[in-house]
């Protein structure tokens, strides 16, 4: 049948563009050779294979385009990037502008702080400087909580995760609010991995990460959904998970040691692109 949208474009140009993040360990980040790697990248390459097969192409060039929290959505919308492979939270607001494929990870919003500053709950942050990455749902949750609970937190917006973490490291901010999995990898990769603690208290329920694509492009979404569903439900899905979360990962040979939780298992068994955290609850 007649191809439309992204599939047509991929067929016409013989190329697909993947947007990657440079410091979302272990989802999408740069290795020692400055090549983007990670859990989401691996998934995306599977999607690329599926697209190639679907379009019956001999060759499909993969172009890589860096994105940041702030640029990823416009770049999907304006056609610069076809798939955004990172750690983007799937939520209802975003679905007004972009579409998501099946969820590849679930994580809650927490904060990391220095052990020495003895901060345990969200209320402990009262009146302090707290940083988060601009353009993320986390900073939104932080400002919401700040307003709702009247905490008087001084919210600082950093350009990216590493810069935000650096603010905690250099005592500019007492805490960094982010998805807990990213906090774990940042703390693990820091100069003093044991000096940091991630809060128990969460700003949100575990929320889904999804790979972004343009909305209103059903044929393309169908191919992508198909590819991800096939991956997640097969044993390969779990193997991929272990590769990035249970084993040493480049470049420094860090091991995050985050076993697959129950929600995660459920989301792999029954792939879903729902933005609603409750859809994944046990």
């Amino acid at each position: 049948q007649e191809l439309t949208g992204t599939l047509k474009k991929i067929k016409d140009t013989g190329a697909i563009t993947i947007g990657f993040r440079d410091s979302s360990v272990p989802f999408s980040y740069l290795d020692d050779n400055q090549k983007p790697i990670g859990f989401a990248m691996d998934i995306c390459y599977k999607i690329v294979d599926a697209v190639k097969a679907d379009l019956k192409l001999d060759k499909l060039e993969v172009k890589l385009n860096p994105v940041t929290s702030a640029t990823r959505i416009p770049l999907i919308a304006n056609g610069t990037v076809d798939l955004e492979c990172g750690s983007t939270t799937n939520n209802a607001d975003r679905q007004k502008q972009v579409a998501f494929t099946n969820t590849h990870f679930l994580t809650a919003s927490r904060f990391v702080s220095k052990k020495a500053s003895k901060l345990n709950s969200i209320d402990d942050l009262k009146g302090k400087s707290v940083v988060s990455t601009s353009g993320t749902t986390n900073i939104k949750q932080l400002t919401e909580a700040n307003a709702a609970r009247n905490l008087g937190i001084n919210v600082i917006a950093a350009k990216d995760h590493a810069e935000a973490f650096l603010m905690v490291e250099t005592d500019r901010a007492v805490a960094f609010v982010m998805d807990d999995i990213l906090l774990a990898s940042l703390a693990a990769g820091s100069k003093d991995p044991t000096g940091y603690v991630i809060s128990k208290d969460a700003f949100s329920k575990p929320e889904p990460y999804g790979i972004m694509l343009r909305k209103d492009d059903a044929p393309f979404k169908k191919v992508v959904d198909g590819a991800t569903a096939a991956l997640y439900t097969s044993p390969e899905g779990a193997k991929l998970y272990d590769k990035w979360f249970m084993a040493k990962i480049p470049p420094k040979g860090l091991n995050l040691n985050v076993p697959m939780g129950a929600e995660q298992k459920k989301s792999f068994a029954k792939p879903s692109d729902s933005a609603d955290p409750d859809a994944y609850a046990m």
Partner: protein, 230 residues
């Protein structure tokens, strides 16, 4: 503080910093300078033309560009470019414009506004008598521009043009906000991956300083040389 400085990280990432980052930075600088200069000269001529529509258009363009922060323009164009491409090429989808081409176009268009002001000043600094003398020996408008005014304007403005190029070279660091791998982008990527921001930013500062200082030193020498020829 300096005791736990990790100079090794700089050493290890040198090839990446220069082969990728600096190459992009320099390419962007060179292309935007040449493109901006050519475009800017035309804009300047338009602005000085007696055709009101042309000069108004040129003036608005220059004023628009010069009123906006480059960071904003970088964001805006990065997102807008594909739609503009689609509109120009009447494509049925936004045209894919990569980060690389997008920044090059953005900088060229942006710098054209600044270069046009330089060229306009250059053209206006040529005494009216020179133009008169050109006409008086029978040259027409194009010949007067081509053989009399522009060569002098360009030569007079060369130091200013180079100075603007140095500014441009520094401004390319702003593409960092798009996570594009220019020199600063490369440095910050290494910095963030290895948690070595202090070292990398200081190193970046040293590199930028060395390059710009050397360049402006030569610009000053050039200025002296040129002022002797005149």
């Amino acid at each position: 503080m300096f005791s736990d400085f990790d100079f090794n990280v700089i050493w290890r990432s040198l090839p990446y910093l220069f082969e990728q980052g600096m190459t992009f930075t320099l390419t962007l600088t060179v292309i935007a300078t040449i493109g901006g200069l050519i475009l800017g000269t035309f804009v300047a001529l338009m602005r000085l033309s007696s055709n009101v529509a042309l000069s108004t258009f040129a003036a608005s363009y220059v004023n628009l560009m010069r009123s906006l922060p480059l960071v904003l323009v970088i964001f805006l164009f990065y997102f807008l470019m594909p739609y503009i491409g689609q509109w120009i090429m009447r494509a049925d989808q936004p045209v894919q414009v990569g980060a690389y081409s997008s920044t090059i176009i953005t900088f060229t268009l942006f710098e054209a506004a600044y270069f046009s002001e330089i060229m306009r000043a250059g053209i206006q600094s040529i005494p009216r008598g020179q133009v008169m003398a050109g006409y008086a020996i029978g040259l027409n408008y194009r010949e007067v521009m081509r053989h009399v005014v522009l060569p002098q304007a360009f030569r007079n403005m060369l130091p200013v043009i180079f100075t603007q190029t140095i500014v441009l070279f520094q401004d390319t660091s702003l593409v960092y906000v798009l996570s594009i791998t220019d020199f600063l982008g490369a440095a910050s990527k290494v910095a963030q991956r290895d948690g070595r921001l202090t070292e990398m930013y200081l190193f970046a500062a040293v590199v930028y300083f060395t390059i710009c200082f050397t360049a402006s030193f030569f610009v000053k020498r050039l200025q002296k040389r040129i002022s002797i020829i005149r």
